[in-house]
Symmetry: C2
Subunit: 346 residues, 2 copies
DNA sequence: TTTCTTCGTTAGATCGATCAAATTCACAAT
DNA sequence: ATTGTGAATTTGATCGATCTAACGAAGAAA
């Protein structure tokens, strides 16, 4: 026999609410999922009961019936080294997800080919409705795999290969370095150098292109104003030295680390960033504002990236067959003291 | 009427598996949850059917019946600035959780008093079984709140207030700076300075204490070998200058940022870290190994922290009334080139 | 008055698993 | 042959919501 009384301490379910409001459970359900179906007076009554009992629908029950977990899977990597960028993305993503009634399910991603098995496992258990991908690489298998099965997903990071599938959001590196050049030109610089990574990395090539195109747009020469180094500070310093010798009055770099290399190269020559030579970094790492002088750098708009990812994902969930959307967002130039007008003596 | 045939494309449920294995659904359930109850021959038969159908139990259904979501809630903050420490914690936590059959549910934590409402919401919906807390502060309300309701939780970060409740895991800052001193003493240093933050921050005071106690243990003087600065690199450099003037041959610092200040102070004097004066940082920030020379620093054992958190949490879930456990883990000294034997000239 | 609509609400089945209790079976003890 | 015992398996109820379909009441049209 079903319990008719509401013992204190008994779990509060829809039936409890229904009893108190003097309606059926279906009406309570409608109050949550289709309030427009209720007469406004009934709605008020149900809402009152919900508030008094502090009731919320049981996720598992709802999810079992509706076949939707309202969870988005996100694979976290061992140590992505991405500095605080991934942190910010994750926060922005979960924030936007929450606003849309979703939450983020975190799972550790085994590197390599076993990775897809984790995705599959989550799907088999119906643990997630969709995925958010990051750390996309050339010819990433995940996109096509998910696409083939009709699982909604969105990627932070473009599909670099020619024939990519699915929606993505990415940061426009070229626009970023372009902005940096514009900023420096406005300060009177003309010999604006670029310090990047060796050719071949898509992200690096993109940032280089932005500098090159902006220089052309302003009618400025680029010959001899380009150097490259790997991610180490000291190597950056060596490469930056060459650019200074070539008479650069400003250096746009592919990363804050390389920018730190510039700082060192300047210090070794008794010069100072900002005062003598302007330097622009990329990423706005935590160290950037701690440096002295504070580093002018390109901050990736992770809040917007997360929000946009969620927006595309929701659209995809709603309409799985809509054409893919791709969004490029420009980084934001954070101006600190490492950029300044060209010194008169130069 | 119940469907007796298994149409292709129909969802694979326990009934499908049961039919194929020629057993009841309960037996399939037992194969997952209590395999020792089955005759080994039956178990094999069921496992075979499971494998052929690629079946996994539906999370929501299981969770509805067992009243356990197997999810651990974790509140992600806007930008905790914790560098890569939180990243590593989160990865370690989800890794250990996965090994125990749990996953991590990420939710954005609104700052301030509204925070607890998010926790409550998750509990009301039965979305999580337990919580992992970080960023604990003096007199944190979350611990007592969760404790009072009997919700299992674990904190990364000790309860600094006197009357804390609940299990926690933390990094032993004092042990870290102590190790740094030991290492330097072994290299022949005697005038080992400490560069920390202004008194008052519990973490900072802890690290200072470790240095002081280790110095006493080795019978070394501490007078005049202590300075403090806020988190900025340049201020660190100024403070470090004083220590160098006081004849320090090595500096233990409270953070990698302060260590970078030492680098600058040395460079300004034409000296170099490692060769002339040894420097030890704290945290192993991404920049630490990029610096030149590479920074010897104390790396927080986040993998162990995450694992231990999960271990305590599982115990707590199993036995909610067991006495609280607290674990302190020592950081690991990562030796790079910024520490070296005392130069002969000194 | 009767019948037809429409709107709001209710009743009963269902999602896919686990729990508690009942049942079957093999085998030993009486 | 009968009963007892324990292990292996099955049966039926249940978790808490949503779905489909049916129902009742109010007002409009006949």
């Amino acid at each position: 026999m079903t319990r008719r009384t509401d013992a204190p301490g008994a779990p509060v379910t829809m039936a409890t609410v229904a009893r108190r409001a003097g309606v059926s459970t279906q009406t309570v359900s409608n109050a949550f999922n289709a309030p427009e179906l209720l007469r406004s007076e009934t709605l008020v009554r149900v809402r009152k009961a919900v508030a008094e009992l502090n009731y919320r629908p049981h996720r598992a029950a709802r999810s079992l019936r509706t076949r939707s977990s309202k969870l988005i899977g996100y694979a976290i990597r061992a140590s992505d080294g991405g500095g605080n960028v991934m942190d910010r993305f994750l926060h922005a993503l979960s924030q936007s997800a929450a606003e849309a009634g979703y939450r983020v399910l975190l799972f550790p991603s085994p590197a390599g080919p076993a990775e897809l098995e984790e995705y599959e496992e989550l799907l088999r258990e119906h643990s997630v409705d969709a995925f958010a991908l990051t750390h996309t690489v050339r010819g990433d298998k995940r996109q096509t795999w998910l696409h083939r099965r009709g699982i909604p997903f969105v990627a932070f990071g473009r599909t670099w290969g020619s024939k990519g599938v699915g929606d993505w959001v990415d940061v426009d590196g070229a626009a970023g370095t372009g902005q940096a050049v514009d900023h420096l030109v406005q300060l009177g610089h003309r010999r604006i150098a670029y310090l990047g990574w060796p050719a071949g990395s898509p992200v690096g090539d993109d940032r280089l292109r932005g500098w090159k195109e902006a220089m052309k747009r302003h009618g400025l020469p680029v010959r001899g104003l380009r150097a490259q180094a790997l991610g180490e500070v000291e190597q950056g310093a060596a490469a930056a030295g060459g650019l200074l010798d070539a008479g650069a009055s400003a250096v746009v770099t592919a990363s804050d680390t390389l920018a730190m290399g510039c700082y060192l190269a300047l210090r070794d020559r008794g010069l100072s960033a900002g005062r003598d030579v302007s330097v622009v970094g990329f990423d706005d790492a935590p160290a950037a504002q701690l440096l002295s002088p504070g580093l002018t750098t390109l901050r990736q708009p992770m809040e917007d990236v997360g929000q946009m990812c969620m927006q595309l994902l929701l659209k995809r969930i709603t309409d799985p067959s809509a054409p893919a959307e791709r969004v490029l967002l420009a980084p934001h130039l954070v101006v600190r003291d490492s950029t300044a007008p060209v010194p008169l003596t130069a």
